[in-house]
């Protein structure tokens, strides 16, 4: 695994360590590498916006029991009304949006149980 550790100063350039195959290399880290997003495993219980968009309709409320395939809400993005459906039989734990909200990509719209 690659990971960064303590910082070592050398001739005004601030180097840090990059560990590859158990060897720690003294080096600079470029923007792309140091600003990379940590990986988050997919959680099917979190219904997320697959695109940024708005919420023109919500069909369920907190506490509802829903069946797999049941319509939960509409996410309007790129002028298309996308029907978001329940991925499995379950229970609506919380709804994090209200009518007319604009949501960014990957925003958690609904949490299911």
């Amino acid at each position: 695994m690659a990971k960064t550790k303590k910082t070592i100063e050398k001739e005004e350039i601030i180097y840090s360590e990059l560990v590859i195959d158990d060897a720690a290399y003294i080096t600079l880290h470029n923007k792309m590498h140091s600003q990379r997003k940590p990986y988050v495993p997919r959680n099917p219980k979190l219904i997320k916006a697959f695109m940024p968009g708005s919420i023109p309709e919500i069909f369920v409320k907190k506490g509802d029991e829903v069946k797999e395939g049941q319509e939960l809400l509409i996410l309007e993005a790129m002028k298309m009304k996308n029907i978001i459906i329940a991925p499995f039989d379950g229970h609506i734990k919380s709804i994090n949006v209200k009518l007319g909200d604009m949501v960014p990509k990957a925003f958690v719209l609904i949490e299911m149980k």
Binding site: A2, I20, D21, D22, Y25, T27, L28, N30, Y39, K79
Partner: protein, 515 residues
Amino acid sequence: MSIKQKTLDLKKRMQDALQGGGAQAIEKQVAMGKMTARERIISLLDPNSFHEYDLFVEHAAKDFDMDKKQLPGDGVITGTGTISGYPVCIYAQDFTVAGGSLGLMHARKITKIMDLAMNLKIPIIGINDSGGARIQEGVNSLAGYGEIFFRNTQASGVIPQISVILGPCAGGAVYSPALTDFVFVVDKISKMFITGPEVIKSVLGEEISMEELGGARVHSEITGNAHFFAESEAECFQQIKKLVTYIPWNNSKKAEPFPKKAPKTEEFKIDKIMPADPRQPYDVRDVIKSISDNSEFFEVQELFAANMVVGFGRLNGQTIGFVANQPMVLAGVLDVDSSDKAARFIRFCNAFNIPLVTLVDLPGYLPGIDQEHAGVIRHGAKILYSYSEATVPKVTIILRKAYGGGYIAMCSRHLRADFVFAWPTAEIAVMGPEGAANIIFRSEIKNAENPEEMRKKKVEEYKEKFANPYVAAAHGYVDAVIEPHDTRKFVLHALEISATKEQLIPTKKHGIPPF
């Protein structure tokens, strides 16, 4: 009318056309910190060398009252000239005329000069400064773009194509530069994107400035769309003038030779640049400068994927493409961006008969979920493909570490390097000593009374046996182990002796590289 009168009439017509969009529009252009299209051409080309064609072309738009409007030169200036005596075809979009918008005749002027460049077999330079398609001309302006893209693709690998972005270049217009060999951008002036901030805001609700979305810095550091970054238009033109001297006029020629010059060995002492410990950083560009003529190195994509260094230099006056791992950044690893960057540069050099000199010092490919998910398999394959495909003389020097897949990828013997040299500091092995010892001697280390002590002992053992150039040399994978200060001598001889190199490639329409 007498000849004199006719000449006066011509002068009058020319004067009208040369005014472009008129004083007001020119004032606006200057206020944005930009030169006018004609000023740009004149400052880029040799004095008095520019010859303009199609000055009297008129636009072909009929709808929306456009037939009543006059657009001088239809918003683009085209012609031929020289840069340091090297012939070029050139066009520059004139933002002062209808925002440099691209209509049918505007596109025809561009495709005409592109066709000329192809027939004359000389480089084409395009200066982009345009608001995009001329909406009033409808599908004709789309046709115009398509005709340009087609020609860009046909010309690819035949004549060098240079794009200069000196203003907006948005929507479909970005694909002409993207299809060309080198893209030049200027800070705060160049803007490139497919969809602009306004569309992104209205469709996605995300807010971003033009500069942050597609400014010069973004394309130089993050996207890799640009190859040369300048602070001003003047600096940008200096870069283009320099590049032109390094590249040939077309794919059947070699770059023009320069007078031979020795490197500045006082400033760049080849024996003192690199620390022997493979974990310590240094600037590999200093090694290039300790080999190249007059210690000159003209770097391409300096700000993008800095863990890989690519660029031009000369050896005994001949243009060379240098490809080198940069231990100073990310230990010089191969990753998605650096593989992409190197592969494209290698293909340019191969297409235009520029020999490749590769300097190797890398721990391998960069581990990480982000890299795997970004397609490091597909992108990493590009470097293998481009080195294997290249038939120009290929000389490889292994400076220090060359581990695992990284060793193979960096123009190893196995990808048909003509010459592979190694410094005595080279470590050619399947992986670094630490990692290898931990795997091979896992049980010994685990069962030892003092595992840490045992680990150290085994790492040392492995280093002694395998972290050197002699195992590879024993198999003939390395041609010679050389002292660092003999590098230039060996490389010069290798290139001299490969001047007549001929390598046959299997008959095919074209390969299918892992783009």
